[in-house]
């Protein structure tokens, strides 16, 4: 997986909302386009987006790794098991409409994954939180997105500890499906009950830091926004609406 990669590219310097809007437009655009050529133009656009961010190599490698299993399944489900007519390529007879559909679906997934991996690599989580705070987003939403990611490693570690402790006490993880299902309780219950018991302690700690206050917070170092970036975000919205209008108009025709 890919995370934030520090850099000085235009995407790194852009307001986080602009980069996310570009990735969001790729996602929505991918579902609006239905022809292989259109979808592959979108994949090219995602690659340009990634190159502008200076993260094309890392993002493209991860995007290929993530979309490869989907490509394989698409090839089997649509290429091999798709409808007639068929064309013979070497030893296999491939479905012509199935392969066209697989190209659209695979390109769609590749464009979305590449676009968002680029956003992940170029949007600093700290700058995003600052932008949200400066934009007046309620504390609760920033807290949920930012703090849950920090809680996860601790929770995963606790799950591993419980797993090992219960195995030491004789819990068997193998056997029949019913036996494995029975083992779910002794593993999941301590994990969730333990976390529930800590809730009030965490609430007190957060309250002591003023997290419960409804007052609007001041961002310490808000990312700079500009009229040009706001215009770009508005233009992307118009573009996405136009793509869907075109799609539904074509469907009617």
């Amino acid at each position: 997986m890919i995370g934030y990669l520090p850099g000085r590219s235009p995407l790194h310097r852009a307001h986080p909302y602009t980069t996310l809007a570009l990735a969001g437009a790729l996602l929505l655009g991918a579902f609006a386009l239905t022809q292989p050529r259109e979808v592959w133009l979108l994949v090219a656009a995602a690659a340009v987006f990634s190159a502008v961010g200076g993260v094309l190599r890392a993002s493209a490698r991860t995007a290929l790794l993530l979309s490869l299993p989907i490509w394989v399944l698409l090839f089997v489900l649509h290429g091999l098991l798709g409808a007639d007519p068929r064309t013979t390529v070497g030893p296999v007879a491939l479905s012509v409409p199935g392969m066209a559909r697989a190209l659209v679906l695979g390109g769609r997934v590749t464009a979305i994954v590449l676009g968002f991996l680029t956003a992940l690599a170029t949007v600093s989580p700290h700058r995003l939180v600052e932008a949200m705070t400066a934009g007046g987003v309620p504390f609760g939403r920033t807290f949920l997105l930012a703090s849950t990611l920090t809680v996860l490693p601790r929770m995963r570690e606790r799950a591993t500890q419980i797993l090992e402790a219960q195995q030491c006490r004789g819990l068997r993880l193998g056997g029949s499906p019913l036996a494995r299902l029975r083992a779910l309780g002794p593993l999941a219950l301590p994990l969730v009950l333990g976390a529930l018991a800590e809730v009030d302690e965490q609430v007190l700690a957060l309250d002591a830091r003023g997290a419960g206050s409804a007052a609007r917070r001041t961002a310490l170092d808000p990312p700079a926004d500009s009229a040009a970036q706001r215009a770009l975000r508005a233009a992307l919205l118009v573009l996405v609406i136009a793509a869907y209008a075109w799609k539904f108009w074509s469907m009617r025709g």
Partner: protein, 186 residues
């Protein structure tokens, strides 16, 4: 939402994202990635459950890197609302009612996820479901039927187990801890 609700929603999201680790260790053919959402629905209510479900979907995409599954957020909305209604009716108090409630939830979840999977992704989504779809397609079932059958078979089992687990969790809550959740007394 109060600060306490936010902390509980965060817990629900963490449970949704971490429980897969236990499921993988047990090699169970299910995901159980909505246990946290159902738990939050039972402990707080629909709004908090909705938030837990949607945040789980977004963070799951951030962690896995695969953002193409974001349209399945609609399924999380359905699960959250259904779980809150089921909790209000007291269906998670006994296993005998929690399991049928889970089957109903699985039915609704599959009815939502199958069209998304078919129309947006051509039936190719997460590993296990797609394997079932491919096997059914190889046996001659039309693609739409194969996608629907795979979604229903996996979701019915998954949500029935998830609801049973939430029922066990609520029954295992020590009395002092349970007393802190007014929704449980309702």
């Amino acid at each position: 939402m109060t600060l306490r609700d936010l902390v509980l929603v965060r817990l629900g999201v963490a449970v949704n994202l971490v429980i897969g680790q236990i499921v993988a260790a047990l090699l169970l053919p299910v995901y159980l990635d909505s246990v946290g959402t159902i738990l939050v629905a039972a402990l707080i209510g629909p709004r908090a459950a909705l938030t837990a479900g949607l945040v789980s979907q977004v963070l799951n995409a951030v962690i896995s890197g695969n953002f193409s599954w974001l349209p399945f957020a609609l399924v999380q909305v359905v699960i959250a609302l259904y779980a809150a209604a089921a909790a209000r009716l007291g269906l998670f108090r006994r296993l005998a009612t929690a399991v049928p409630a889970g089957v109903g939830m699985g039915f609704l979840a599959a009815a939502c996820s199958a069209p998304i999977s078919f129309f947006l992704f051509g039936g190719v989504t997460a590993g296990g479901v797609t394997v079932v779809t491919t096997v059914l397609r190889a046996l001659g079932a039309p693609l739409g039927v194969a996608v629907a059958a795979a979604s229903f078979s996996t979701d019915l089992l998954d949500k029935a187990i998830a609801c049973a687990l939430v029922c066990l969790l609520l029954r295992s809550l020590p009395r002092t801890l349970a007393a802190r959740f007014p929704a449980l007394a309702a």
